[in-house]
Amino acid sequence: MTTFKPSRPKHHPRGASRRQVLVGFGTGAVALAGGRALAGSEGDEQVAVAPKGNADQLQRQSFYGIHQAGITTARPAAGLVTAFDLIVQSPDDLETMLRLLTERISFLMHGGETPTADPKLPPPDSGILGPVIEPDNLTITVSFGASLFEGRPWLAPLKPRQLVRMTQFPNDALDRDICHGDLAIQFNANLQDTNIHALRDIVKNLSQFMVLRWSQEGSVPVAAPMEDGREPTARNFLGFHDGSANPNSTDTALMNEIVWVGPHNDEPEWAHGGTYQAVRIIRNFVERWDRTPLREQEEIFGRAKATGAPLGAGPGATEYDTPDYASDPDGAITPLDAHIRLANPRTRASEENLILRRAFNYSNGVASSGQLDQGLLFIAYQADLEKGFIAVQNRLNGEPLEEYIKPVGGGYFYALPGVRDPGDYLGRSLVEAVRRRATSPS
């Protein structure tokens, strides 16, 4: 592994020197050197000294675009999804809230000096990132739940057509305290502290409109490059690569087909540029999984655990090899009920069920049983929720993996179209559609 040594060890590099540092890294090195992992490498630092930041903290994602950031954007190490109930009683409330949210997000994603105030007043910023906020690759992605529309007659006619309250699948044991919400925010950043800072900023500034409902943090482990230099997917808490078959998120045409809602979808016009978001908090019974024979684990997933290669794919195969189900119709190599085979049968027909997954692993301490409460904060984006997540999950119902997993929370949301420029605001197309309806004769 490449080791990262900051040029000025006691201080976070600033200004021109920071740019030099950034230029000095190959992208692979930056990804590998990942922040805190190397905090001990200096050897003679005091315990109290903070872990060192690195060039990753300077990475900035643009807030502006036809789509929101944080969906097809590369996935950083730290994720957080928080759902809220909204106190929004009129179109004016909705607009005020969305403009305020836009203002906060554009500041948080850009970074900069935190505002100050008379010391007799509470400080405007929590200060947990210090007086200067680095962008740290932060994306903040806002989505609406069905309840926001359904509870408000002036919004109900504009609900995205497939947006419904998440219903229980056969293996689910949904806990109402960690389900649904009028609004969800996905925070992604290199460091979890950056997500937490952003969440606290939004909670503080939007309390008039937003009430916390539930929140789940997650993380993505680092992975070494493969022998051929390609970058692998991350592993989930069952030890398997997760996302091997994800569609290429850098392929704009493909994303326009799979992820982004547009004129070709039967959706209200305001929703163009948005996407359906399925969030699932999926508990993993990790102790039991760790007591399961390796061969059985691999047959349950349909992949080799070490490499992620499809079963029977031969020596040197990787997770990116395409499984050949056509020559294995009876499941002699990959069982017919293996997770990846059910999720994506690789047929022409199943192409319409492709979804873009963006998952994080979570660890929530100890369950009441005395076992570890760990699992997957599953997030998937798709232009068609029914053909996407819902169809895939319906195929997975009854899979052998269910012995080891239990979906307990989450919800369906609609990620809003992007904010095009500094004159725009989140959800403007929806607010304008509401106002047009109010003024047009019915």
Binding site: I87, L121, P122, K204, S207, Q208, F209, V211
Partner: protein, 273 residues
Amino acid sequence: MRLIPVVAASVVASTAAYGLALAADVTLELVEPITEYKIYVAENTEELVKDTEEFVAAIKAGDVEKAKSLFAPTRTSYEAVEPIAELFSDLDVSIDARADDYEQGEKDPKFTGFHRIEYVLWEQNTTDGLGEYADQLQADVTDLNDRINSLTFPPEVVVGGAAALMEEVAATKISGEEDRYSRTDLWDFQANFDGSEKIFELLKPIVSEQDPDFVAKVQANFDQVDETLAKYKTDHGFESYEKLTDSDRALLASRVNTLAEDLSTLRGKLGLD
């Protein structure tokens, strides 16, 4: 009313001691509202002593139903003045601690006061074994009343009390964990909001000069809270917490957090540290 000159003098003395050089004019303006507030608190603690006598008498008489009916109304005069009552942390713990303030929960003998009595009345449906706790409650509230009457009210505690009450509701009450056995939480909510709004009302004339928008926003949020709670009023008090709908709870949560957020700037606005 005899109190007033004494209080006024002590307020000025204590503000001088707090070194509020810049706030000289403001602290003079604060004399009257703080005097008024002291009277409000004194009236409440006097009421608390009186109501507790009745509550204790019902317990001693073994009248479970009467004791239950007096539990919530007796508490309200304590809840309304919590920012001041809490200055005496020994009494606050003895009077108002909850089972989860103790590692052993309800089994802990140090779990006393209103919530111990509430626990026995509702969970065990008896007054048996409550005599000692009732006597202690009476002694504690009497002691509290005496101590408060001889207290010089620190201006920053009074002004900060408006937000402190909202912080209490936001952190540990909105969820319905305060009166978990009796489900009389809405009585407490109303008393907490009333106590906070009282402070705000007294300070409003001073604050509205410098920040009328702030005053309007805070007032609107108090009004919405009052309207929401009014939906749950009954002839003799409030509905059970269990009747509170999810949407009304969310509304109260947003208003209480925003009131806490806004009222947390009151001290600064009045130049108090």
